[in-house]
């Protein structure tokens, strides 16, 4: 396969949905609301930990305009997980549509469907609940204390794959690995550190909160239109939870306003489906922003211990990582997020001794879930901070330390084989790796050479530069599957049907480019229809940085099959052998120059003229490896030493994502992830009162960046060619969010000598660090 001379791939073609989105056409779930739809509202727990002693829905049920009220007493009690993952899921079954116990402020208590939002709201208020309050568990430390209240004491709570699960100890998951002996390596090492870091909870803040609409169609089947990243998992989990056959459910994902992992959760589909099923009316449920903050999903906070050791030459000899994550009230993604803290970070540096443990604990706080970066974000902060600290101890430039130790093309890491998703991992050798070049180009763009020691800096405002290196994966090997089907139309256009889920990333466009390149046409000739469980082939959905790499390979394969069929028909038409023909620009040419036919000619021939058949193909792909994209990030910050106020002056992200199928969209992924990461590092945080209630559940008080806050940003794509990826592609969408926390922490240190090991880096923390210096 040619590596270069792409015609469609690696070009910034028009995004397929750009125009209708820009014109505000009806494309989103709520746009499709039929006139007779009911509005759903949920009743939330006001307590962090309580037993529902009694609940009286009679007043609500009697209210005019109320069609259905659901609570634990009138729905099936089926333990499941909301995590949309491969089946059987690695997340524990610890969640019910409604339960007799509530486990965090914002847990579901009851649901109402009514003629208007106002009636639904009033009905929710009319539900009388008597709670018996239990002691809430509000931190990792409290959860692990001997004799701590047990959050999941229900008998049904269980793991459905053979992994450690100890709910009686508030432990939702455990994982670990050892290579060599880190303790021993530490004992004799001249350079070593053993530090603890904390990284905080945050929300995805998709511009469109969770929204689901369901109706029962004329045939009696349940049709769910929903803002999801995982339509097929949503179908399976909704059917499971409602106790109806999968066959009865169709899930459709229209355009969605972002997900970032929050919509890898099946949060509303079950209850909206049930309301529609019972009321036989269409039902719409839209989360408010407050609900999105509290009753959706968050990034798992983690407390992380890092141990590093180096020999007298400064060569890294041991890396130890112990991560304890706070999964909140339910174990959604508990195992896999904390496992990724090891598997997506530890392989980056070569060391003979490696140690990892991951533990996820239950607390009575909002629930952790999938969030862009998925555990790697958390551990990258700790490890990349520690690498800088070790470099200072050794007396070596942290850039040089990283350059000397990072994994390279052709090398492998024992971590790949040891850590999988709920089972052993998959051994793999690194294919393409452009990290060296990322470091080089990034360092040049930020001006690394002019970086000085903080001890020599003077004046009130001091600048500093920090960096970090990153890796992620591309799909979950030997687990994830994506499929695509292609058929040719009589004008030479093609329908591309895929389960793959475009959550705003542009994957529909990227996959159309791959199809067009494979077939030999342009992307505007590819009509994409995706994410409909009745109409499109299966796909696990949009997560684990998989779509381009995984579904892209299925599309490529289907495209090549189509190409073969086209050549076959053209050969018949032109009385040549297929081998004597070639495709260029949607035409088939005889290599000897004796003639050509257009795709339209071929299609018409195949459908109407002779030996008719539908030119069509379907292909599936599973990945056998998860090739990491790599990145080097650099941040320059300015700190006001009087107040600790901090400003990011410039940010450079150099990324190796293999071939960027759509360079503009790839840059957009990097820039979006970096902006997301910068405000995560500096301004985003959940504030709780002592009873576990979130205090800042709106954009007025939960601070995310807007374009006005964007620092100077340089995005560099370093092209490499990943042989196992479609046209050389790897992933790009998650990796970028992992950089800002460590790069900024390292830059703050370089500016003023304050080492922050607890994120976010608020001005107060920096100021207090400066005070300690002065003392």
């Amino acid at each position: 396969m040619a590596k270069k001379n792409f015609k469609v791939v690696n070009q910034p073609v028009k995004k397929l949905d750009a125009l209708p989105l820009a014109l505000g056409k009806p494309l989103f779930v709520a746009d499709f609301k039929p006139a007779d739809a009911l509005y759903a509202k949920l009743l939330w727990s006001p307590h962090a930990h309580a037993i529902i002693k009694s609940i009286d829905i009679s007043a609500a049920e009697k209210m005019p305009g109320v069609h259905c009220v659901l609570y634990h007493g009138n729905v099936p009690r089926i333990a499941h997980t909301t995590a949309g993952q491969g089946f059987p899921e690695p997340s524990p079954y610890d969640t019910f549509m409604f339960d007799r116990k509530v486990r965090y402020v914002g847990d579901r208590v009851a649901a109402v469907a009514a003629e208007t939002p106002e009636i639904a709201e009033a009905a929710v208020k009319a539900i009388k609940v008597e709670y018996e309050r239990l002691e809430p568990v509000l931190s990792i430390e409290a959860a692990l204390k001997e004799g701590s209240p047990v959050i999941h004491d229900e008998p049904e709570a269980r793991a459905v794959i053979p992994v450690p699960y100890e709910p009686k100890k508030n432990i939702a998951a455990r994982v670990g690995m050892d290579v060599g002996n880190v303790e021993q390596a530490m004992a004799g090492a001249p350079y070593k550190l053993d530090n603890s870091y904390y990284i905080h909870m945050a929300q995805h803040c998709p511009i469109e909160p969770h929204v689901t609409m369901a109706h029962v169609n004329a045939e009696g089947r349940l049709v769910i239109r929903t803002s999801t990243q995982v339509p097929f998992h949503a179908r399976r989990i909704a059917a499971q939870t409602m106790d109806i056959p999968v066959q009865q459910v169709r899930v459709i994902k229209p355009r969605i306003g972002g997900g970032f992992g929050a919509k890898q959760e099946v949060l509303l589909e079950d209850v909206v489906g049930m309301l529609a099923w019972r009321s036989r009316r269409p039902v719409l449920l839209m989360y408010t922003r407050e609900e999105e903050f509290v009753s959706s999903r968050t990034r798992h906070p983690e407390r992380i211990r890092v141990r590093l050791a180096a020999d007298p030459e400064g060569t890294l000899t041991a890396v130890g990582l112990d991560c304890i994550s706070n999964t909140g009230a339910y174990g959604a993604h508990a195992l896999t997020v904390v496992c990724n803290s090891g598997s997506k970070v530890l392989p980056l540096y070569r060391a003979p001794n490696v140690h990892f443990t991951g533990t996820a604990v239950y607390t009575n706080l909002p629930v952790g879930g999938a969030y862009r970066g998925y555990g790697a974000t958390q551990a990258a902060f700790a490890v990349e901070s520690a690498v800088d600290e070790l470099a200072e101890q050794i007396g070596v430039d942290p850039l040089v330390l990283r350059s000397n130790h990072h994994i390279r093309s052709g090398e492998t890491s024992p971590v790949f084989a040891a850590l999988g998703e709920g089972k052993a991992g998959v051994e793999q050798a690194i294919g393409s790796c452009g990290l060296d070049k990322c470091i080089r180009l990034g360092a040049k763009a930020i001006g690394w050479k002019k970086r000085g020691d903080w001890r020599k800096k003077k004046g009130r405002y001091r600048r500093g530069i920090g960096m970090c290196c990153l890796m992620q994966g591309s799909s979950i090997p030997e687990i994830d599957m994506g499929a695509a089907s292609l058929k040719m139309n009589e004008d030479g256009s093609f329908n591309l049907l895929m389960g793959a889920t475009d959550l705003g990333t542009g994957s529909d466009t990227v996959l159309a480019q791959i199809a067009a390149e494979a077939i030999g046409t342009t992307s505007d000739k590819i009509l994409v229809y995706s994410s409909d469980t009745d109409m499109t082939p299966f796909d696990v959905g949009a997560y684990a940085s998989s779509t381009t790499y995984l579904t892209g390979n299925a599309v490529l394969d289907a495209g090549l099959k189509i190409k073969k069929q086209i050549l076959g028909v053209a050969a018949e038409m032109m009385e040549k052998k297929p081998a004597d023909l070639e495709i260029r620009d949607a035409q088939v040419f005889a290599r000897d120059g004796s003639g050509s036919v257009t795709f339209q000619d071929v299609a018409l021939h195949s459908l109407y003229a002779a030996n008719q058949f539908q030119i069509a193909a379907i292909s599936s792909h599973i990945s056998h490896k998860s090739p990491p994209p790599f990145a080097a990030h650099f941040a320059e910050v300015e700190v006001d030493t009087e107040t600790g106020l901090i400003r990011v002056v410039k940010y450079v992200a150099a990324t190796d994502c293999g071939t960027a199928i759509h360079p503009k969209l790839a840059e957009g992924q990097v820039e979006g992830a970096v902006m997301n990461g910068i405000c995560y590092a500096l301004t985003e945080q959940y504030l709780f009162n002592s009873a576990g209630r979130m205090l800042n559940d709106s954009f007025l008080h939960y601070k995310i960046y807007s374009m006005r806050d964007k620092p100077e940003m340089v995005t560099i794509l370093v092209p490499t060619y990943e042989k196992t990826g479609p046209f050389g592609a790897k992933s790009v969408s998650e990796i970028g969010i992992n950089g800002p926390c460590p790069a900024i922490a390292n830059a703050i240190y370089n500016a003023v000598g304050v080492r922050l090991r607890e994120a976010p880096f608020t001005p107060e923390k920096i100021w207090r660090g400066l005070q300690q210096h002065n003392a």
């Binding site: 500096l682 301004t683 995310i704 006005r708 001005p763 107060e764």
Partner: protein, 281 residues
Amino acid sequence: MKITDFKIPTRLDEALAALRDLGPAALPVAGATSLVFIPEDQPMTAVDLNRLGLDGIRRDGDAFRIGAATRVAALQKRHEPGWVLDRVALTLSSQQIRNESTLGGNICRVFPWSDFPAALLALGAGLVIRGAQEKEMTADEFFSSQPARLFRGGDLLTHIRVPAVGAGAGFGYKKVRQTATGFSLATAAACLQLDGGGIRSARAALSAAVPFPARCAAVEAALAGKKASEGLLREAALNGLSGLKFKEAEGMSAEYIGRLAAVTLGDALVEAWAQAKEQAS
């Protein structure tokens, strides 16, 4: 806020009459941007203040006369000698909010994040209120507690008189926030009147960091009559706020916010001093 009816008077007396008739069920609205902050409960009738001729800025001797319904964006876009409110307007939230919010709306009901009260306190503005008659009060009186108290009987703020910052005088304004459109962590405003190298008078005010916008009397006292220097100004701010109570904010302690307010006020004083020197007569 639940608006169930809407009145659109076109004359001031008509508006005042409507407000008196409706009593507590009436809500005067100018930009109406504050409605999102007021929890929905009682049904209210909105009385529109946008067609009463209450907008516009006019130079009036040594002062500017600003109609209460003048948009913050209009303050932002005005540039002329003596005019300083453009600096305050520019950092208030986003352009969309500035296009809608009015100066009167920003000060008649003070929110913890309202930006203009500190500036008007430091500038020594006058506030003109119309009920049965017209009365003018000082910013100190107006902001002595929540100004909404003044309008319960159906009176209206009609305009604001803001002294021009003239010869030998300077104005400083600093606002600290974590994101470009975020609420302030500390807002400080200062006015200095120089007399040769000395400070004839100083006015300083804080908001956001403190429970309610307030003058900083000890800071002002420490400056009046002294020879100006950057050291003096910063020291006065650092030492002169010990009597004030500060609020915790955005996960940061009251102690830290107090420190931030003191530094920010120092910065505002230094900025005021720089302008005063520039305008030295």
